[in-house]
């Protein structure tokens, strides 16, 4: 059994990662870190670049976790990518970061968190920043 965390290179992603590390320590099992992009725009700040990845791997190894990094481009949305990985590794827990949103923002941008929570094959830990 393993813990899957949706990572984005910002404060929200880091908060989710720290919570996931805590959970992994407590539950044991590998931590699967997912960071994906649809590659549908020229600049995607939610997709970690080399610098961000190096930093991420440093954090993970410093924490002494048994981790697996999934960093890829896909044609699906971030929520679907995360759910796909969770099903594939039969995750015990899914960790995501959430933030407060305005009603208009919800209308325009949908919600990755909502899709993940409603369709997850396992419990979801939502970390608020």
């Amino acid at each position: 059994m393993s813990v899957v965390v949706g990572y984005v290179p910002n404060e929200r992603g880091k908060a989710a990662l720290h919570a996931a590390l805590e959970e992994t320590r407590f539950r044991g099992g590998p931590l699967v870190v997912v960071n994906s992009t649809r590659a549908d725009r020229l600049v995607d700040p939610r997709y970690a670049q080399e610098d961000g990845l190096t930093e991420l791997e440093e954090t993970l190894s410093r924490a002494g976790a048994d981790y697996e990094l999934r960093h890829f481009a896909s044609r699906e949305t971030a929520a679907e990518d995360l759910l796909g990985v969770a099903r594939e590794v039969s995750a015990e827990l899914l960790v995501i970061g959430v933030r407060r949103r305005t009603p208009v923002g919800k209308l325009l941008l949908g919600s990755t968190a909502q899709t993940v929570i409603l369709e997850a094959p396992c419990p979801v830990l939502a970390v608020k920043t």
């Binding site: 649809r38 549908d40 020229l42 044609r75 699906e76 949305t77 209308l107 325009l108 941008l109 949908g110």
Partner: protein, 173 residues
């Protein structure tokens, strides 16, 4: 993009069809020129002269392009920020976009410009791979109405708001 201009690697069928089509158009231009009525008052140079020149020039240029393709000079497809010249052309995408335009054109009169534009935007976004689809529809409708408000309401460009929004003052040009 490691190479700035890449040779298109596919069968030269289309490469030949395009200049052949232009050559056919040139023949039509030349034949059509004979049908142009030349009034007696036209003087030395009537309305047929330039058509003959253009048709002739087009025929020569198209044949020259055809010959150069046959001699192996395949065109360099245009590069760009979002273009991958090595990919196979997705004709389906082109056909879908053209069909969407046709739908848009048909819808302008019965539905009004903003709704027809919302259909065009949403359909085009889907064709380009937008996900989730509902979000694209919301954004498309919003953008269509913003354009209608700014251009018809604000700048006075008379885009028809359509029967549904006939009574909305800020959507009128």
């Amino acid at each position: 993009m490691s190479i700035l201009r890449t040779q298109v690697r596919d069968l030269p069928a289309g490469q030949l069809v395009f200049p052949a089509g232009v050559a056919a158009l040139a023949v039509y231009v030349l034949l059509g020129a004979a049908d142009i009525v030349e009034p007696i008052s036209a003087g030395a140079v009537g309305p047929r002269v330039l058509p003959y020149l253009v048709g002739g020039g087009m025929l020569v240029a198209a044949l020259a392009a055809l010959v150069s393709v046959l001699r192996g000079d395949l065109a360099e497809a245009e590069g760009g920020e979002d273009v991958d010249p090595d990919r196979h052309t997705s004709w389906l995408t082109v056909a879908a976009l053209v069909a969407l335009f046709a739908l848009h054109i048909v819808l302008i009169a019965p539905l009004g410009w903003p709704l027809a534009a919302a259909v065009l935007f949403t359909g085009a976004a889907w064709t380009f791979g937008a996900k989730p689809r509902g979000r694209a529809a919301v954004i498309g409708t919003a953008i269509a109405f913003v354009l209608q408000t700014v251009f018809a309401g604000g700048l006075g460009v008379s885009l028809p708001p359509g029967p549904l929004f006939e009574g909305v003052p800020f959507l009128h040009g």
